[in-house]
């Protein structure tokens, strides 16, 4: 808990603002905090909004263009809202050999959305992703940051049902974040 009140006008929670205040002091060059700041900001706000870009740029003394230039490089950073539960299915070689494409297809049908789509209620979004480092436990998916491995269409159904139930229970916190 920071003893100082958050900077007036900050869009971040006091805890995250305090984390950023500390983060920028860790490096020989302040700008080194940029990529982590963007990811942590996205975790809280949901995506990299214009307001996130403006505040991160101001905190690091960078132009907004500089920040946007970095945002567009990294695949985890989204400039549009994704679902509360972002389902990322790996179809890279190790997953493909054990049914990753079938899991993706199954999610498409089950959620009724295409790759990179968001369900109308905003609960789920779907993305085909590259290797997530779960090759020996393939096929695998990440929902937000939580790994789900050795998947079958049936176990994927259960994973989706569990997240759906979390929303219905009114939980505000996204799984894995």
């Amino acid at each position: 808990m920071s003893t100082q009140p958050a900077r007036p006008g900050t869009i971040f929670s006091p805890a995250l603002a305090a984390r950023f205040d500390r983060l920028v002091t860790l490096y020989p060059v302040k700008r080194s905090a940029l990529v982590p700041m963007l990811l942590y900001a996205q975790d809280e706000i949901g995506y990299i909004s214009d307001a996130v870009i403006a505040e991160v740029a101001a905190r690091l003394g960078l132009s907004e263009l500089d920040v946007r230039n970095v945002v567009s490089y990294y695949s985890l950073l989204h400039t549009k809202p994704v679902g509360k539960y972002h389902v990322q299915v790996c179809t890279n070689i190790s997953c493909m050999l054990r049914g990753g494409n079938e899991i993706l297809e199954h999610c498409r049908k089950k959620l009724g959305i295409p790759n990179r789509g968001v369900t109308p209620d905003g609960v789920f979004s779907l993305e085909e992703v590259e290797c997530i480092g779960a090759c020996s436990w393939a096929p695998a998916a990440q929902v937000n940051y939580a790994f789900h491995e050795n998947l079958t269409p049936e176990s994927m159904d259960q994973v989706l049902a569990d997240y759906r139930a979390k929303t219905q229970n009114g939980s505000q916190k996204a799984g894995g974040k």
């Binding site: 970095v70 990294y74 985890l76 070689i93 493909m96 590259e130 290797c131 090759c135 436990w137 491995e149």
Partner: protein, 437 residues
């Protein structure tokens, strides 16, 4: 969450503390933790580097460069601060070993950083993890905080005259950032674009200072070398290939998993005995021995020891330790296409041969797989790939080209079977990839 798999032939060295609660610093200390760091404080830089050379440890990221030699390239005197950088941006398809290290033994990584920092007299280290490994960032940050609290990091570590700060850094999704110079760009808050070399990182690296950058497994191995002795470590492996490594077995296997085996372990045995062979009575078709960028091996080529030299002699690379097994029902064109889709997606776009080459190859392979290609296209795929080799700032271009050349050379007949509108013999109804929304 991710766990090691064992087999009677396994030699638990790097994985020795896995599953023993070593994320807790007191438990880690109880399991001989931080003793290697104390030992190396007395040894001094020259002594550490000599031991590292004796160990025959070679970089576990893929290139297999001797670690002791890499460390020795850092100039003793430097006007700019020196840095130690741990590459935990594990992203090579087929590779999932560093995850286990961060999850089960985070202090081994920190202790490895301490020893590397002592060797080159660096006062700062960074542990860079890919953004997808978010739960591991929390584990590593806690471990670093605990090490500070014990006085193992910070000012006057272990009561010595030596200061060392360590920062855990996250990426945000980019295969290219696993390349050493791109990782430094990312750590400096920029797009992960590779730098031209020379100068090499040992001379001009992070923030322009001399830097050693090692794979997470390499760094986590270092304390064990000083724990058991460098000569003993070297003896576990083969000539010029010391120790053990974490092999990630995946694909069409009965028992996929991450296994710690001695360097030089026979690949055929690894597949049929450790991995339990091919399921459903199918025959082996091919093996990708070291992550998606390494040239494919045929069943008759796998009676080899898994070390950098022997796999090199067989025309491929030991790479990152990701052994991907393909059975007879896998379409090689589809597999080549999926591999290329990955490299096309991950190419950072900085060098034209890579940016345009991967895109063109993806389109050609897509057309071939769908049955719309002509004979000339097969030669064109190979010609394109061969012309990417060695013409880019970083090895991503080579990583895309090398396996492609091998797929065409070793499975040409299968490529030809897709010609003249026939389409994929393995998936008669293969449909084009639906458009992204």
């Amino acid at each position: 969450m991710a766990t090691l798999t064992t087999h009677p032939d396994c030699v638990p060295l790097v994985s020795w503390r896995f599953g023993k609660g070593a994320t807790n610093i007191d438990k880690y200390i109880e399991l001989e933790g931080y003793q290697a760091a104390r030992k190396t404080l007395e040894l001094g830089p020259d002594g550490i580097i000599a031991e590292m050379k004796t160990s025959n440890l070679r970089g576990r990221g893929g290139a297999g460069f001797p670690t002791g030699m890499k460390w020795s390239f850092v100039p003793k005197q430097s006007a700019k601060p020196k840095y130690v950088l741990v590459n935990g941006d594990e992203s090579e398809p087929g590779t999932c070993k560093d995850r286990l290290i961060f999850e089960h033994d985070p202090h081994a990584v920190i202790e490895g950083v301490i020893i590397a920092a002592l060797a080159i007299q660096a006062k700062m280290g960074f542990i860079y993890l890919r953004g997808e490994y978010r739960y591991l960032i929390e584990i590593m940050e806690k471990a670093v905080a605990d090490a500070y609290a014990k006085g193992f990091l910070g000012k006057k570590i272990f009561g010595s005259e030596f200061d060392l700060d360590v920062v855990v850094q996250t990426g945000a999704g980019a295969y290219e950032v696993g390349e050493e110079s791109a990782l430094m760009e990312s750590l400096e808050g920029k797009r992960g674009i590779p730098r031209i070399r020379p100068p090499f990182p040992a001379v001009v690296g992070l923030y322009g200072g001399p830097t050693i950058i090692n794979n997470a497994e390499t760094i986590a191995t270092v304390p064990h070398i000083f724990r058991i002795g460098a000569a003993e470590y070297a003896r576990l492996g083969t000539e010029r290939n010391g120790g053990t490594r974490l092999f990630c077995l995946s694909g069409r296997l009965v028992r996929p998993g991450v296994y710690e085996l001695p360097m030089g372990y026979n690949l055929k045995k690894m597949i049929y005995e450790v991995g339990g062979g091919i399921p459903n009575g199918k025959k082996l078709k091919a093996v990708v021995p070291g992550g998606s960028s390494t040239p494919v091996l045929l069943p008759e080529e796998i009676d080899i020891g898994m070390d950098f030299d022997q796999v090199g002699k067989a025309g491929s690379m030991l790479g990152s330790g990701g052994v991907v097994v393909l059975d007879e029902t896998v379409c090689m064109v589809e597999f080549a296409l999926r591999t290329m889709k990955f490299y096309q997606h991950e190419s950072c776009g900085w060098c034209i041969p890579c940016r345009e080459g991967t895109d063109w190859l993806k389109k050609s392979l897509t057309r071939l797989h769908e049955g719309g290609a002509v004979d000339k296209d097969i030669d064109n795929i190979r010609y394109l790939a061969e012309n990417m080799l060695g013409r880019t700032f970083c090895p991503l271009g080579d990583a895309a080209a090398m396996p492609t050349i091998a797929f065409v050379r070793k499975f040409r007949k299968e490529f030809e079977d897709h010609l003249e509108g026939r389409g994929c013999p393995y998936h008669p109804a293969a449909e084009p990839e639906p458009a992204l929304v």
